[in-house]
Symmetry: C2
Subunit: 227 residues, 2 copies
Amino acid sequence: ILELVGATRVHGEGVRAVRALDEVDLTVRMGELVAVMGPSGSGKSTLLNLAGGLDTPTAGAVRLAGEALSDLDAKGRAALRRRRIGYVFQDLNLIPALTAAENVSLPRELDGVRLRKARREALVALEQVGVGHLADRFPDELSGGQQQRVAIARALVGPRRLVLADEPTGALDSVTGEAVMRVLRARVDAGAAGLLVTHEPRFAAWADRTVFLRDGVLVDSTADDQP
Amino acid sequence: ILELVGATRVHGEGVRAVRALDEVDLTVRMGELVAVMGPSGSGKSTLLNLAGGLDTPTAGAVRLAGEALSDLDAKGRAALRRRRIGYVFQDLNLIPALTAAENVSLPRELDGVRLRKARREALVALEQVGVGHLADRFPDELSGGQQQRVAIARALVGPRRLVLADEPTGALDSVTGEAVMRVLRARVDAGAAGLLVTHEPRFAAWADRTVFLRDGVLVDSTADDQP
Ligand SMILES: Nc1ncnc2c1ncn2[C@@H]1O[C@H](COP(=O)(O)OP(=O)(O)OP(=O)(O)O)[C@@H](O)[C@H]1O
Ligand SMILES: Nc1ncnc2c1ncn2[C@@H]1O[C@H](COP(=O)(O)OP(=O)(O)OP(=O)(O)O)[C@@H](O)[C@H]1O
Ligand SMILES: [Mg+2]
Ligand SMILES: [Mg+2]
């Protein structure tokens, strides 16, 4: 379970201070996919970065399975991120010097999984999102949508308990996008908690509920957030 | 006027050869916006890279205002790209060490435009796409959608005769996306030729016609391509 309690993030100080996220309370249970929508600049990526321990809140708390992320040291947070949390970043973040399969298997290899097993898992994940045949290409030999699907495969490989996806279908046509959502949904149905940022209503429809951000504040939600 | 005649692009050789674009004929007139749609990996970005002289065709010709791009030397092509052609790349390509305004004014400064005038033009272009207030931020201080709008402003500033936009609204919600399309359309109505890659039918609707790519081949078009 993921819990954000009064999560606030301010960039800069004094006159230049920008309140990117303001007192956000959000709970996401295992097996639940929550969509986050809102205009450009409303705080969606900031919310995902705090939820995944990639950024630290200026105020408030972020808890994963009851444990406050701020109580962990840098090493503990890095292990949690590598093992438990899968990310699809808005700017993809693929390593140009590694092939598609190597990009996907890297988090598993860092976790001590043997090379042959990590590669097998990577090929299965790439196959699931329709780019298995491109496993041995480098990122700059792939189209934008193919690169995005490699990033999705990387986020889903291994025992992820929390999946954070920032516009995972941004560069995809609707047929390819549906295929990606099916894989993401199956992962959540198998027990992970999921947060999906999207501006496409037809993809938000795959979520159990949708919350709306405006200027850093959660202004609405399609279902009651309080259990 | 932009003309592609038998434009073909093959990556790699022998067994690993990939035919990204295959014998594409396409004419785009001044004042005309043509949308390009097609599944992920179908050759859309390849088409835009050839049209803008960023990549050289393996076979066939690309002509801009009657002049074959292959007849120009590297310096001539670079000057043409800087002065006449505006690009919005799929991976944005903003320079992290420059502010939003500096990223937008750079092509003009390289062309010998004085700093104060280049900055004034940059501020107007940023204002048009709704991010004028973020002119002095660096790219990593902006959200994904805000960065995309900076890239669009850079493509439109100055006397562009050809505008190439690869999913310019990919990271934008529909309200912000409409605002961007309005600016792009106005630029084309003022006399530029425009090529727009999008997978969103509602944005393709802003174009005069749409062509469809599948496995590198132009398979369909919403209006007669022959004049
Ligand atoms: N350097 C390269 N080496 C080998 N193949 C390549 C290279 N660059 C692109 N390709 C292949 O060429 C094909 C066309 O790529 P392109 O980037 O034009 O697709 P696209 O239509 O823009 O897709 P998307 O919607 O995913 O951005 C793809 O199958 C891609 O894998
Ligand atoms: N390092 C930073 N310094 C200052 N402001 C920042 C910084 N990073 C983000 N911001 C601001 O915080 C706000 C929220 O950004 P965020 O990236 O969360 O938006 P978003 O909802 O993901 O938008 P998009 O849909 O465009 O990706 C934006 O107004 C942005 O300009
Ligand atoms: Mg974002
Ligand atoms: Mg592309």
